[in-house]
């Protein structure tokens, strides 16, 4: 039996959907069976980021209202084995779903898949409650800015009330150069503040924008810093011990140093 993990943040725009798409793809790449559930009813995006928009025929709403079987609503990603998407309805609103319906679907999915990743909407209202309803564990995505960290703190409190455990942190869009200059909150300060376990750090990577627009998750493009970070996180999610590397700063000198070390 697999587990249901809700991917959430409180604040919008910190990378929940991007992280869900990349972690889902990365887990499938390392041989796990994965289904990604878009819980952002009315503002669905996961299908777009995954490049599966045109193949969505049925949505989770059709499943909840018994218009179609659960397995029929799952869209298969043809680029990797065993990666499915359950899209959200765009015509409905978040209050049209009850937490129990979500719970029931998650319960069924985890019987057959290793990982059920639920992409939560921003906010702490009904949409978030639905997304968290069926979750066993949670991954909090935050960026190193104060408002995102505050919202993450609020969300952690709410998840703890629901006894969702463990709650792990992914620190997204960290820029080592800015931290060094003292213009960005450091990883350690974020961890000190939120007091939960760190699952991984994803560096700022401009490749994300291009990959979102093309509908190809970053992890397909092996070698980029972001892709490698997501692959490491996926391995940690499967229980492997992968150390979190200290982020290096990318500048002229590090390029020169890399070039020399590569040519040794």
């Amino acid at each position: 039996m697999g587990k249901v993990i809700v991917i959430t943040s409180g604040k919008g725009g910190v990378g929940k959907t991007t992280s869900t798409a990349n972690l889902g793809t990365a887990l499938a790449m390392i041989g796990k069976t994965v289904v990604m559930v878009d819980a952002d009813v009315g503002l669905r995006n996961l299908d777009v980021v995954m490049g599966l928009e045109s193949r969505v025929v049925y949505t989770s709403m059709d499943v909840f209202e018994k218009r179609c079987e659960l397995y029929k609503a799952l869209v298969k990603d043809r680029r990797v084995e065993d990666l499915m998407l359950l899209a959200a309805s765009q015509r409905n609103r978040k209050d049209d779903i009850k937490p129990e319906q979500m719970q029931e679907v998650c319960e069924k999915l985890k019987q057959e898949y290793d990982f059920v990743l639920v992409d939560s909407p921003a906010g702490i209202e009904q949409g978030f409650r639905n997304a968290a309803a069926g979750a066993d564990e949670a991954i909090i995505i935050t960026t190193p800015d104060l408002s995102a960290i505050r919202d993450a703190d609020r969300i952690i409190g709410l998840l703890q009330n629901q006894e969702i455990q463990p709650i792990n942190l992914v620190l997204n869009r960290l820029s080592p150069a800015l931290v060094k200059k003292g213009n960005m909150i450091s990883k350690n300060d974020v961890l000190d503040f939120l007091n939960i376990d760190l699952l991984g750090v994803v560096p700022e990577d401009t490749g994300v924008i291009a990959s979102t627009n093309r509908g190809i998750p970053l992890v397909h493009n092996a070698g980029s810093q972001g892709a490698e970070a997501y692959m490491r996180i996926a391995r940690r999610m499967t229980g492997q011990r992968v150390p979190i590397p200290e982020m290096r700063e990318e500048n002229f000198f590090s390029h020169v140093a890399n070039w020399f070390s590569r040519n040794k």
């Binding site: 505050r150 919202d151 703190d153 609020r154 952690i156 409190g157 503040f193 007091n195």
Partner: protein, 223 residues
């Protein structure tokens, strides 16, 4: 926030609601609604003084105003000051003689030694309170989190949120934290906040009401 009918000012003995008594009570209530509606800090539980110039209200009007403030905004009226027309000093400082203020007199609960212990950190949106004694938190209090106690507040971690000790008016209450970098501190009716951008000092600190009637913060060595 300028309002010709009512003004809210903070003095060293707490918040004062300054009222122009030449207008009728309903107008004053509307003006209060406008004034308090604009404030983003919740004032619930705070005690305030009413300041006014002659002509003074009838005691019935005053009574109605106090009830209004208590019921609608959960404010505690701790006194009524009447000012001279010309000068700013009060000529008559009449203590409010109504049941609300009396029931909230300081040290009403002798049981301040009793403490509520919180064995986890307090995150944004979470509140912990003990209305009969003190609160001890085994962890941090993050911004957006709030601790309220009738007695003392002790945080065995970083206090980054808000703390209100002595909520019933016990001014001997103290707030102690391993790292005291709060958004706001209140002891009784006194409010204090550290300068913006304050960094942790690296030692425990204590906040208490000092001789000057302001909240002072100093290194906590021993009591």
């Amino acid at each position: 926030m300028e309002n010709s009918i009512v003004k809210l000012r903070g003095y060293k003995d707490g918040l004062h609601l300054i009222i122009n008594p030449k207008v009728s009570l309903p107008e004053i209530e509307t003006a209060i609604q406008e004034l308090l509606g604009e404030m983003n800090q919740p004032l619930a539980g705070t005690s305030i003084h009413i300041d006014m110039r002659p002509p003074i209200f009838t005691s019935e009007d005053l009574n109605n105003l106090e009830t209004h403030l208590t019921e609608k905004y959960n404010l505690v009226v701790s006194g009524v000051n009447v000012f001279d027309e010309e000068n700013e000093s009060p000529i008559l400082a009449a203590p409010a003689t109504h049941s609300i203020s009396q029931s909230l007199a300081a040290d009403n609960h002798p049981d301040f030694e009793h403490a509520h212990i919180v064995r986890q950190m307090i995150r944004s949106g979470q509140t912990t309170s003990c209305l009969t004694g003190s609160v001890i938190v085994y962890g941090d209090v993050n911004p957006g989190g709030e601790v309220v106690a009738a007695g003392d507040i002790i945080v065995l971690g970083a206090l980054r949120g808000s703390a209100h000790a002595g909520i019933n008016g016990r001014l001997t209450s103290v707030i102690i934290a391993m790292e005291l970098i709060p958004l706001q501190l209140q002891i009784g009716s006194y409010v204090n906040r550290p300068p913006i951008g304050e960094k942790p000092r690296g030692y425990p600190e204590i906040a208490r009401v000092g001789a000057e009637d302001i909240i002072i913060v100093e290194e906590f060595i021993k009591f």
